[in-house]
């Protein structure tokens, strides 16, 4: 029975989960809709040997042309590309990686949890490009504190303005010898390194950290398998009053009513719902300023010579760390603005493809470098540009008849130059640390593949150039909030989820207060 909820929350991942966590605890009655089923780890997973899988671990060919993260073990967790199509121009591929399960992508994320800084929030003040956020770091800091406590983020304080410290579970673990050598090489060049800052526990998801507290209050109900098609409005007031959704399995149509609608269906899905609803776009920028963070995977693969021979000395290998952004802070680079971070790790075995050999010779080389690898990934800031956008592709619909997105995103010279720089610096640091560089390159993966898609529903003070205000509230419809990564104005090179969660909690606090004072 449709009982008329206070707040309808669409999506149960980091954003929807964070909003529900705050709202339900404030006594607000919430209904959450999620397009996917609830996961049961006992029932839905089991150990298998790779040779017992039908494709020996290769996966069914062509099943996930745009999800390089998919393999035959985890193939069933990603959104099916045939049922959930989207389009892009052949010349500009976009890898949109989606999880449609209760808990969203937080069931599988890598758990890196980094704060943004005023280098991002005040980016235009710093280098003149783009738009400042309507908030400063100081506005979000208390919510970062809360999110870090919930996600139990481990880390070590470093006192860096470009990567503010958080409320960490102190990580005092000793670094391995190879990591110490790399850190020292960076320090000699004035480049800071930090320990990895990461949510602890194998599972650090909305399902075990955000939703249980909300459910416990009795104020949150969740409907799974509910694919939202559009948000509905009251024709008299123009305010949002609910949503149409379709049962994923039966295709049965439903409508639900609520006083307020909070969208947290993930960056591009929320924007798709708004575009399909024809709402919140008086500015004309809905769908625009799509960006993410570029990845250069294995920008450098190196070998620690002392670890050769297949049996590295104890304490030499293992562990990892982060080189936070160091470019364009106090000095200016000639070829690009903004910066990138490096994610480095020690103790892997370099892939066979890097060795120009085969047969027994290859086997010997691989045995020699077993566990002796030192690898680096670069994660770079992508500039938000109006022309990078999503729009509805009227010719294509998903399995529920909902029009699909067309995505248009390209990297340009600023990103290319930054990627080249990340390769040069990574090589230099490895060589300075005494490592042998086996391979290096600067080609980034296609846009989207970092799974850090951001923008398209950005916040701002000016309703003519932004969709949301500084509380993630639609400028056009005051009882409509969008709390996921689509609200970002710029993204830096820090993984975005901690910021998504902090922003969603801040928006939910504001919403609760507005509801209390009957502003909404």
């Amino acid at each position: 029975m449709n009982t008329g909820y206070d707040v309808l929350i669409i999506g149960s991942g980091a954003s929807g989960g964070s909003a529900a966590h705050v709202l339900a605890k404030k006594g607000i009655r919430c209904l959450m809709l999620d397009a996917g089923p609830a996961v049961n780890f006992e029932r839905d997973r089991g150990f298998k040997r790779v040779y017992d899988l039908p494709y020996r671990g290769f996966g069914k060919p062509g099943r996930f042309p745009n999800v390089t993260q998919a393999n035959e073990f985890n193939g069933n967790v990603w959104a099916d590309q045939k049922k959930n199509p989207y389009t892009y121009d052949r010349s500009a591929p976009y890898n949109w990686v989606r999880v449609r399960l209760v808990g969203g992508k937080t069931l599988f994320w890598g758990r890196w949890s980094l704060r943004l800084s005023n280098y991002e929030f005040r980016c235009k003040d710093h280098d003149g490009y783009g738009t400042n956020w309507p908030i400063r770091y100081e506005d979000l800091a208390p919510y970062y504190d809360r999110a870090e406590r919930i996600f139990r983020v481990t880390g070590q304080k470093a006192g860096l303005p470009q990567l503010p410290d958080g409320v960490f579970i102190e990580d005092n673990s000793p670094d391995s010898g190879s990591i110490r050598r790399f850190d020292a090489a960076a320090a000699r060049r004035g480049i800071a390194t930090t320990k990895v800052r990461r949510a602890s526990g194998e599972l650090a998801s909305s399902v075990n950290l955000l939703l249980p507290g909300a459910i416990e209050t009795g104020n949150l109900q969740i409907i799974s398998d509910a694919v939202v098609r559009e948000i509905t409005t009251d024709p008299k007031t123009g305010l949002a009053n609910g949503a149409y959704f379709i049962d994923r399995r039966s295709q049965h149509d439903y409508h639900v009513e609520a006083r307020v609608v909070v969208l947290g269906a993930s960056c591009l899905e929320s924007t798709r719902i708004l575009l399909n609803s024809g709402l919140a776009n008086s500015s004309g920028v809905l769908g625009h300023y799509l960006f993410d963070q570029f990845y250069v995977k294995d920008v450098v693969v190196a070998v620690v010579p002392q670890a050769r021979g297949g049996n590295p000395p104890r304490g030499l290998m293992g562990g990892g760390g982060c080189v936070p952004r160091f470019r364009n802070l106090k000095t200016r680079e000639k070829n690009f603005i903004r910066g990138y971070l490096l994610d480095f790790s020690s103790g892997s075995t370099p892939d066979a493809k890097y060795f120009p050999a085969y047969g027994e010779a290859l086997e010997k080389q691989l045995a020699d470098v077993e566990g002796a690898g030192f690898g680096i990934w670069a994660i770079g800031e992508v500039l938000p540009r109006y022309e990078n956008h999503v729009r509805i592709d009227k010719k294509v619909s998903d399995a529920w008849g909902i029009p699909a997105l067309h995505v248009q995103a390209k990297y340009t010279d600023n990103e290319f130059e930054m990627a080249k720089d990340s390769m040069r610096v990574s090589e230099e640091l490895c060589r300075d640390a005494g490592f042998e560089v086996v391979a290096s390159h600067w080609q980034m993966v296609p846009p989207g593949e970092s799974i850090h898609e951001l923008g398209t529903c950005r916040m701002g003070d000016d309703p003519k150039t932004s969709v949301l205000n500084k509380y993630n509230q639609s400028h056009d419809i005051k009882n409509l909030f969008v709390v996921d990564g689509s609200a970002f104005v710029s993204g830096g090179c820090q993984n975005p989820t901690l910021t998504i969660s902090a922003l969603a909690m801040r928006a939910a606090e504001y919403l609760a207060e507005q509801m209390r004072t009957r502003e909404i």
Binding site: G36, F47, R56, N74, P356, E363, H441
Partner: protein, 197 residues
């Protein structure tokens, strides 16, 4: 009474007078109810007990692929190679299900192996030695580049090297031998079943 006569006399006695013979169990008492527990019915894997039907490749191509498997991932005294792992059969199956560009890469690559071998030795690739194959496989001695090569044959050789190695390392044959030496090499992973479909 002689023993044989005695037995005969027993056999001809009326049933009621015969020595009591233990009855078969099922008629000894009331029949136990049939078990409702699902038994584990043992089955065996198709690829260890039968031959696969080659689909993607013609005989020459398949012979070339098998030879390539034996050269790129040879059997070593203590480690199964591509042939032991039936990497060729597996890749034939995989390629038969693959998108057209992948099928073309393999078809043309295997044909090229045969052409090159015939040109150099008068024999198809499947019949030449590893030593004779060396110059043909020279692109595999070129340093790695991130950008795919512009030469389709080099692309094929790189793809085949990766695929044959993976098909071998992930095979039952390889894992069962290697995991005896190293318990971590068990090829075990967490598999996600279809979720509430």
């Amino acid at each position: 009474m002689k023993r044989r006569t005695a037995i005969r006399s027993i056999l001809t006695l009326p049933a009621a007078m015969a020595l009591p013979v233990p009855l078969p169990a099922q008629v000894a008492g009331p029949a136990p109810p049939p078990s409702n527990e699902m038994p584990d019915t043992p089955t065996v894997a198709a690829d260890t007990h039968t031959d696969t039907v080659v689909k993607a490749f013609n005989a020459d191509q398949f012979a070339a692929l098998n030879k390539l498997s034996s050269i790129l991932v040879p059997s070593l005294p203590d480690t199964p190679g591509g042939l032991d792992a039936k990497a060729g059969e597996f890749l034939d199956f995989l390629i038969s299900q693959s998108p057209p560009d992948r099928v073309m890469l393999y078809n043309e690559g295997l044909d090229r192996l045969n052409q090159e071998a015939r040109k150099r030795t008068g024999k198809p690739f499947g019949e030449i030695t590893a030593e004779q194959a060396r110059p043909i496989l020279a692109p595999l001695h070129e340093p790695w580049t991130y950008e795919p090569s512009t030469d389709p044959f080099t692309c094929f050789l790189r793809a085949a090297k990766e695929d044959i190695l993976k098909a071998t390392r992930n095979s039952r044959q390889y894992i069962s031998v290697v995991s005896r030496r190293n318990r971590r090499a068990g090829g075990m992973g967490i598999y996600w079943f279809p979720i509430n479909d």
